[in-house]
């Protein structure tokens, strides 16, 4: 018997939150159906920040469209441009240079670090633990500076281009050295934080067993990414991506699927990311960063899946005389909305926002296109 099935259809009261709320920085509406402060049901309404990116991309030259995919999300912007370039590269058969491959992996892992740190910081903030939140934000600043160093901007770096990476993002000796030193500093800081965090019995009692998402339910709801791995399923698309062939890392899983598992999951995954970046710095091959030796031809519908910090990202489009057609993008949060609604059932309303945050929501990613259902 699933304990999370609502007991009755009669709802005592409804508490709507959003579209502006301190615990949910993004605009979305959530309605909690509450009985004696216990959430019986939750309904998340997205579409609040629908902006129609896929429609704007329609008919744009592919290089321009790639740059535009960055604007889908300010958190995982690099993943979008990476996957968008990857789609065209797969369709047109462009070989990317070895050095560019490594730099893309470095950028991807740095972005994973910054996304996971943001997750940890936001989680602590929703717990109202200002001190921990600030400590993680302080660590995150190291990553942001590195991203700004490589890409030139703190948020949207525009690293990948067709055939490799932008020459601006090439890593010289000084940059590699700084990257290496900062990884050491980051690992030290993160180790300290994780020890502090796991040793704090008040915080642990606050987050253990909250927002449980059982493994069976997670698979049923088609949850992706770290949220799925936190329920014990070792599914990570990085194992299937050719970019990660040279690297040695572990796929982290956590058993419980509650807030604690999710937070610990992100922390442990950050260590793996640091490991990957270190390997990339040590083995980065010499050579050109971009392969300009390709020709634009018409391309059929091509799909590409990659693992981004929050789950599986899907891009697909076709090219007609160098212009993008029928673009479809599916972001991880789209799959995780069901998990968010499910996770907060049966918990206190103070924890409800925490349960939503544990599934790593990014509604800006998700609200791009509206689906029109014709009946």
């Amino acid at each position: 018997m699933d304990k999370k099935v609502p007991r009755s259809n009669i709802i005592e009261t409804e508490i709507p939150m959003g579209t502006v709320h301190p615990a949910a920085l993004e605009p979305y509406r959530v309605r909690f159906f509450v009985e004696d402060e216990i959430v019986q049901e939750a309904e998340i309404t997205i579409g609040v920040n629908h902006r129609g990116i896929e429609r704007i991309m329609e008919g744009l030259p592919v290089e321009k469209a790639n740059a535009l995919t960055e604007k889908i999300c300010g958190i995982c912007s690099n993943s979008h441009i990476w996957n968008s370039c990857r789609t065209a590269e797969m369709g047109l058969g462009i070989e990317i240079t070895e050095r560019a491959k490594y730099i893309r992996v470095i950028m991807g892992e740095l972005e994973r670090l910054h996304s996971h740190f943001l997750y940890l910081a936001h989680g602590c903030e929703v717990l109202s633990h200002e001190t921990f939140s600030m400590r993680v934000f302080y660590l995150r600043e190291i990553v942001m500076e590195l991203l700004a160093m490589i890409g030139g901007n703190r948020v949207q770096y525009g690293c990948s281009v067709l055939g490799g990476v932008r020459p601006r993002c090439d890593l010289d000796e000084a940059k590699l050295l700084r990257l290496k030193n900062d990884m050491d500093a980051l690992e030290e800081g993160l180790t300290g934080f994780v020890e502090r965090f796991l040793g704090d019995s008040i915080v642990m009692s606050r987050i253990t067993g909250i927002g449980v998402l059982p493994q069976k339910q997670a698979i049923e709801l088609a949850v992706t990414g770290p949220t799925l791995r936190a329920t014990g399923v070792a599914r990570d698309l990085r194992t299937t991506m050719f970019e990660y062939d040279d690297f040695d890392y572990n796929v982290i899983t956590q058993p419980d699927g509650d807030v604690k598992s999710n937070l610990v999951m992100r922390a442990l995954e950050s260590f793996e990311s640091i490991k990957i970046i270190r390997q990339a710095i040590a083995n980065i091959p010499e050579g050109k960063v971009v392969n300009r030796d390709w020709e634009m031809v018409d391309m059929d519908m091509t799909e590409s899946y990659i693992e981004v910090p929050r789950g599986t990202l899907y891009h697909s489009y076709a090219l007609e005389s160098g212009r993008v057609r029928h673009c479809i993008i599916r972001t991880p949060s789209m799959a995780n909305i069901g998990a968010m609604q499910y996770a907060c059932i049966g918990d206190q309303i103070t924890d409800a926002q925490l349960c939503i945050v544990q599934c790593d929501p990014c509604f800006t990613c998700t609200d791009r296109a509206i689906e029109i259902i014709r009946r």
């Binding site: 502006v20 605009p27 609040v48």
Partner: protein
């Protein structure tokens, strides 16, 4: 400098409203206030989530259709004197989303923010840098201090 201006310069409550866009500006602004690295509180800028408490409203994003009314409601709820900072290129001119349906008329993007509420300061950037946001809020100080 009277007691009014003196006190206003030493306690500025900022509220953040995020109206669509890509989340980048939003995180940078929260980062600028929450992170010890930039620490807006050392300039006596406090983050609040209650419109009744706020002095300065920081708006990011191109104001999507569903966000227009909440934005107006929150602006109404702030007691005078109130100032608005529009941060990021979406808030300033609609960004890349402005003509999201090209020639087809669309109600989806209501922005830029200027079309909906009066804007006092504009902070450009995609995404804005935390330093710029702080500079934007601080640049409003003379207006805020002289308001009655």
């Amino acid at each position: 400098m009277g007691i009014k201006s003196f006190s206003r310069a030493r306690a500025i409550h900022v509220m953040l409203v995020y109206t669509g866009g890509c989340n980048g500006c939003d995180i940078e602004i929260v980062n600028s206030i929450l992170s010890p690295r930039f620490d807006a509180e050392q300039y006596n800028v406090f983050l609040t989530w209650n419109p009744r408490e706020a002095d300065v409203l920081v708006v990011t994003g191109p104001v999507t259709h569903l966000n227009r009314k909440p934005l107006e409601a929150i602006y109404e709820a702030i007691p005078n004197p109130k100032l608005v900072v529009a941060a990021g290129s979406c808030a300033l001119m609609g960004g890349v989303y402005k003509n999201c349906y090209g020639d087809i008329p669309s109600e989806e993007i209501e922005g830029p923010v200027e079309n909906i509420i009066p804007v006092n300061a504009k902070v450009p950037g995609c995404a804005v840098r935390p330093q710029d946001v702080l500079a934007g809020v601080v640049s409003l100080l003379p207006t805020l201090l002289d308001a009655d």
